[in-house]
């Protein structure tokens, strides 16, 4: 350690004289007593039976005891203990001699080796292989390279649409100007491909792509409830009370506000979604109940590299 000439003469006092403030010492002591009292108050508040502001009082008393200690310590530093200015040389940026010696040790140790390349190659191979072997068990974490589960949905032709409690939806129950969340009968709600939103629009206003003719009996449409942007639930349906003066009907995702047009097969109207909301073909059976007419028009959920967007269809 280097000592500056005006810094710390070793033979005499090391620490410069403090400010000498007996009154501050008393204040510091008082603050510490305050800290103790607050801490004990915290124990008291904690120990009594639960009451409405117990949580707030616990926070307040604990914070107060910390604040008292903080104040005491800061005052101690400012008014009681010495605060002297000292100086010291910065350490040298580098030690050239040691650098040279380290390099020499490395070089000279290997000086007698004749097949240096061979050893380095073999060592590298061993290291790499062991590294790979150590990583291999991580493959069990999931079906890493098996993307089929991402396409999977529980929807098949003929599967009934049921509500949250498992009651089937009838076509006559589906009204215009509102939306319904439906699930495939008997399927887990946790499956990303399970939930759909169902809306009814005026059949005359439908502008579905030609290959989806017959997907919307009586103007009833179903779409995956999972946004193809980032997997949030498309939980908004805006529909105008009075068409001529208000924005048209749309399904909206509340995360990034991607907006989809149900009448046009889920086409994106606004927001970051890069592809339409996947549509589910519907049929109405003889009993008037809603059934799926097949799987979705496109892959459900967020996209990934190489996804075949039209896969399920």
């Amino acid at each position: 350690m280097t000592t500056s000439p005006d810094g710390e003469p070793e033979s005499r006092d090391i620490v410069a004289a403090g400010p000498e403030s007996p009154r501050s010492e008393v204040t510091v002591a008082a603050l510490l007593v305050g800290a103790a009292v607050s801490a004990i108050a915290f124990i008291g508040v904690y120990s009594v039976e639960k009451f409405s502001t117990q949580h707030e009082l616990m926070g307040l008393t604990l914070a107060a005891s910390f604040a008292f200690v903080a104040a005491a310590l800061i005052l101690l530093g400012e008014r009681v203990l010495p605060s002297e200015e000292v100086a010291e040389d910065y350490p040298e940026v580098a030690a050239p001699q040691e650098e040279e010696e380290v390099a020499k040790v490395m070089e000279e140790s290997a000086a007698g080796i004749t097949r240096k390349r061979l050893l380095v190659g073999a060592g590298g191979t061993a290291g790499g292989a062991i590294g790979l072997a150590a990583l291999t068990p991580a493959l069990s974490l999931g079906p890493w390279f098996e993307v089929a589960p991402l396409y999977r949905t529980p929807w098949r032709a003929g599967r009934r649409l049921v509500d949250d409690e498992g009651k089937p939806y009838k076509a006559e129950e589906i009204e215009q100007e509102t939306f319904y969340t439906a699930f495939p009968e008997g399927s887990s709600h946790r499956n990303l491909g399970a939930s759909i939103v169902v809306v009814r629009v005026d059949p005359a206003a439908l502008m579905l792509p030609p290959e989806r003719a017959g997907w919307a009996p009586e103007g009833i449409l179903a779409f995956s409830k999972i946004c193809p942007h980032a997997a949030c639930a498309v939980a908004l349906y805006r529909k105008p009370t009075y068409g001529p003066t208000q924005p048209g009907p749309a399904l909206v995702c509340p995360c990034h506000y991607s907006t989809f047009d149900p009448g046009k097969g889920g086409e994106v109207l606004f927001g970051p979604a890069g592809r339409p909301l996947p549509q589910l073909p519907l049929t109405v059976d003889a009993a008037g109940e809603m059934r799926a007419g097949g799987n979705f028009s496109d892959a459900i959920g967020p996209s990934w590299w190489g996804i075949d967007m039209e896969q399920p269809h």
């Binding site: 530093g77 509102t178 939980a235 908004l236 805006r238 105008p240 009370t241 003066t245 909206v252 506000y257």
Partner: protein
């Protein structure tokens, strides 16, 4: 994106940012001079003619194609036939109607009509054939909060936010439910005002509606803020503001206090 649209949007945003408040309703309503002496039905009829007919048509059957009235209003609006007391009462008591521009989103404000005038208008409009639904009478005290929570999240939270603080959908603002009365929530669930869907009894039965109202009133009017000051019950945005404007500022001040001590 068309450059004109960008320009327009920038200009609009700049204007609003500059503090231009959104449109105010045009000067008051038209009242018959001898209002107090008129029977209720007659008062309703006259108020309707003076304040509603420009958009909703003189016989209440709506005005599909915009028509310029003598007062210079570009009248256009839906038919009120068959909407019943349920709708009329809702739109008048929330101050949603009358509205100055047909394209404007109705927002909650102090009703422009007084109590008797509202009753008169409700009476008059609901008397126009065919008959419509009456004002609902919900009983939130009979509701179940847990059921209310589940239904609220399934049907309402997407727009109104999980704690009913309001939100956004593209094309409209979604009001918070703090100021909505139990009757108004019941009305709007069935009517679906502006862009809101309307819910049938198949989706939400009257009993379930009681639960929804009970939950919505709990979270919006008496939010269970067990953790202290609720900072608006909006989630992380106000929490971040407290972190920076309170937490970071206080701690930086402490640093300044103990930092520059040699020159102190």
């Amino acid at each position: 994106m068309a450059p004109r649209r960008i320009l327009l949007a920038t200009a609009v945003t700049a204007l609003v940012l500059a503090g231009a408040a959104y449109a105010q309703p045009r000067s008051g309503v038209v009242r018959p001079p001898d209002e107090a002496r008129l029977p209720l039905r007659e008062l309703g009829s006259q108020l309707y003619a003076g304040n509603c007919s420009a958009c909703h048509g003189i016989d209440g059957s709506g005005q599909r194609v915009p028509r310029r009235t003598t007062e210079g209003i570009e009248g256009q609006g839906p038919s009120l036939r068959g909407v019943g007391a349920r709708s009329v009462d809702f739109y008048l008591r929330t101050g949603y109607m009358p509205i100055s521009e047909p394209e404007e989103q109705p927002t909650r404000r102090r009703p422009l009509f007084n109590e008797r005038e509202i009753r008169a208008l409700v009476d008059y409009v609901s008397s126009l054939p065919p008959p419509g639904p009456p004002i609902p009478q919900p009983h939130p005290e009979r509701g179940n909060l847990a059921e209310g929570y589940e239904l609220f999240v399934e049907h309402c939270a997407g727009c109104h936010q999980a704690t009913a603080q309001g939100g956004v959908t593209t094309g409209a603002r979604v009001p918070p439910l703090e100021d909505a009365s139990a009757v108004q929530i019941a009305q709007s669930v069935r009517i679906g005002p502006y862009l809101m869907p309307k819910f049938s009894e198949r989706q939400i039965s009257d009993e379930e509606l009681d639960s929804i109202i009970a939950y919505a009133e709990l979270v919006s009017k008496r939010p269970p803020d067990e953790g202290g000051w609720g900072i608006g019950n909006l989630g992380p945005v106000p929490e971040g503001m407290v972190t920076w404007w309170l937490g970071a500022v206080v701690l930086v001040l402490v640093c300044v206090l103990i930092g520059r001590r040699l020159r102190a």
